[in-house]
Amino acid sequence: MKRIYFDHSATTPVDKEVAAAALEYMTEKFGNASSIHGFGREARKAVDEAREKVAALIGATANEIFFTSGGTEGDNLAIKGVAFANRKKGNHIITSAIEHHAVLHTCEYLEKHGFTVTYLPVDEYGMVRIEDVKNAITDKTILITIMMANNEVGTIQPVKEIGRLAREKGIYFHTDAVQAVGNYPIDVQEMNIDLLAMSGHKFHAPKGIGALYIRRGVRVEALQHGGGHERNLRAGTENVPGIVGLGKAAEIAKQEMAKKVTYLGKLRDRIISEVMAKIPHVKLNGHPVERLPGNANFSFLFIEGESLLLNLDLKGIAASSGSACTSGSLDPSHVLLAMGLTHEVAHGSLRITLGRGNTAEEVDYFLEVLPEIIDRLRAMSPLFGESANTVVNNPCSECHMH
């Protein structure tokens, strides 16, 4: 069976060039970057070069890049690191209700350790409002952490404006940019960003490597102790193959950025316009314009997202209903609920996330298969028929947000 991969927000294939670059640092140039001899120097040079490339992708300088194991570690280090290093200045943190669990659960952890956290709501498109950020700031606020692009609905947040506000108030601004880096142009200077977490496997580097950008002068406390790696901020022997891979992937992403954004945007727009035209009772989730180039997210009324996904899988199409992180569990997404969707509508969601390897033919096949599946599932749904002509409106007071 033909297999089509439409789940690039979950992970991406490693670029062959990236894999080749990384492989060399496993087998041939295997030195420890901290060693004094030639093998070590060879590895150190590669790490330094990779740091330059990663910095260049986001408009930072190399000494502002700290390699991590991925997005979750970067978010933890940024949020807890800033909180612990700045607790004398205050104990208040501002975030949003639609963050990834790497941010939400870290904030919840800090709430158990003397910090208070404001979880900002979002509008119907999943966007944080600047006024809400402004109103949430107190004289105890030490950190604002708002994601750059949402992993489920793809909505791009007004990061630049939030950053400007934070800068004016002397508050640190962290952004979880895991979905955006490599897929959307970023300049940390222009966007007023103090800390930014990225993850390699979201842009064709291997899993298990990522980086945290920390603007020069921002105070962060280390969470992992040991050797003096990453300038005493992240102990542990450098993952040289991963770092080399991340550097190579960053280099390629920077070169291809404009082309990729245009290409994916076209495929995405075609999916959105045809799905909206071909299938009744469907809702586009996320912002119509301010969204990741490869992201389309729909709610199909009267059906369960789970059945839809499995049917697509049996047809060889890999999509998702939201975040891939809660394995097995297909509870309604906290993001969709925060955007005001009811449980019923949130349950019928489908996320398509495109990558540079996807083709127009794959999109054709998807658009051919999808309506058949939706028709069949709706024909079986007890909800469909009776209520197909009524608006689903059943606000659920029991929804809770993380």
Binding site: E306, S307, L310, N311, D313, L314, G328, S329, R376, M380
Partner: protein, 362 residues
């Protein structure tokens, strides 16, 4: 489309459902494996007692990988909470002794999974139960029969299946003994071939009802009097749900002769105890009936009747009461007939139907 019929196998990670999947793959079905997620996956788990625990998912996934079939974990948490856990708690609160596994079979494993399977375009759902399903030309309907292995027969827990559901279910293990199943599983190279059978109620940690009910339904654990059959107070009980009809131990009464729980009186919040003789009764009234071998029971019928999973069948006369209930009159008195448990009627191997015991007639 492919000509092979598509079947969703309910996989628990145990030997029975694993072999079921293997047999159907071997028979040429287009097999999809599925495990029902019925309980909070975020609960930390270090044991593997439940049939649907995280480690069960791991075992089932490995079996599916070995068989080369697609495998999914399906979310049934809300349905399970509503139809099994809430029922379990409510039944105890009403002084009955529920059988959550039957409720789970009926609403989750059969109705719920069948809906999901049909939504996947499958024609059948298969389970690893020791029971046989077949179409009977003479009667023009599907029949449910006991499994060939009388010691493992699970037809008691399946009496709620009906003509609509039976035609979509496959239970290939009904033709095998448990020993044959294990042998076939070993031959098929399934790593779970020698895994022990699961026993306890999967959602009650450590089988500790008291703590579970104290947390989920504290109102159901109201202390009250233990009385004899004449109403004389003999002691105190810690809440009706903690007592079962027929129980002898743990009453905390020194009476000089063995005492047994005879009944639970919810109106008076009393545990009624008596002699062993008092635990026996000859008649019961059952409701929530389902018949498989025929549509309705219109005249008295002699059958072999089973009052709990582990009970022996006993001959009885089943008489419809005209109000959706039946009176079951046994030839000889039966020990510890328990309201809330299922009563199932047999004719030889054939499951005629069954219902839920409402009350015991003395």
């Amino acid at each position: 489309m492919t000509a092979k019929p598509k079947v969703v196998v309910a996989m628990s990670g145990g030997v029975d459902s694993s072999l079921t999947a293997a047999l159907l793959v071997h028979q040429g079905y287009d097999v999809i494996g599925a495990t029902m997620q019925i309980w909070d996956s975020e609960r930390e788990e270090t044991d593997d007692r439940g049939c649907c625990s995280l480690s069960a998912v791991g075992d089932a996934r490995r079996v599916a990988d070995k068989l080369g079939i697609p495998y999914y974990v399906l979310n049934f948490r809300q349905l399970f909470q509503e139809t099994v856990v809430d029922y379990f708690v409510a039944e105890y609160a009403a002084g009955r002794t529920p059988n959550p596994c039957i409720a789970c079979n009926r609403y989750v494993k059969f109705e719920g999974l069948l809906q999901k399977a049909l939504a996947l375009g499958a024609e059948y759902v298969a389970t690893g139960h020791y029971a046989r399903i077949g179409y009977d030309d003479a009667r023009g309907r599907f029949l449910l029969r006991k499994g060939v292995d009388q010691t493992k027969d699970q037809s008691y827990a399946l009496y709620h299946l009906n003509q609509r559901t039976l035609k979509h279910f496959l239970m290939p293990l009904g033709e095998y003994t448990k020993a044959e199943t294990r042998q076939l599983a070993r031959e098929a190279g399934l790593a779970v071939a020698d895994k022990p059978d699961s026993q306890e109620i999967c959602f009650v940690p450590d089988d500790d009802y008291q703590s579970f009910l104290a947390a989920k339904a504290p109102a159901s654990l109201k202390p009250g009097d233990i009385v004899d059959t004449h109403g004389r107070v003999l002691g105190r009980h810690k809440g009706l749900p903690l007592y079962t009809v027929g129980q002898r131990k743990g009453l905390g009464i020194a009476a000089g002769r063995p005492l047994y729980v005879v009944a639970l009186d919810t109106d008076r919040n009393q545990v009624i105890v008596g002699d062993d003789n008092d635990v026996f009764a000859s008649e019961l009234i059952a409701g929530d009936l389902n018949y498989i071998a025929f549509d309705e029971l219109t005249a008295p019928l002699s059958a072999a009747v089973k009052i709990r999973y582990s009970a022996r069948e006993a001959p009885a006369l089943i008489t419809p009461q005209g109000d959706g209930q039946v009176r079951v009159s046994f030839e000889t008195p039966q020990r510890a007939i328990t309201p809330g448990q299922s009563v199932v009627f047999y004719d030889g191997d054939i499951v005629l139907g069954g219902g839920i015991i409402g009350k015991v007639v003395r």
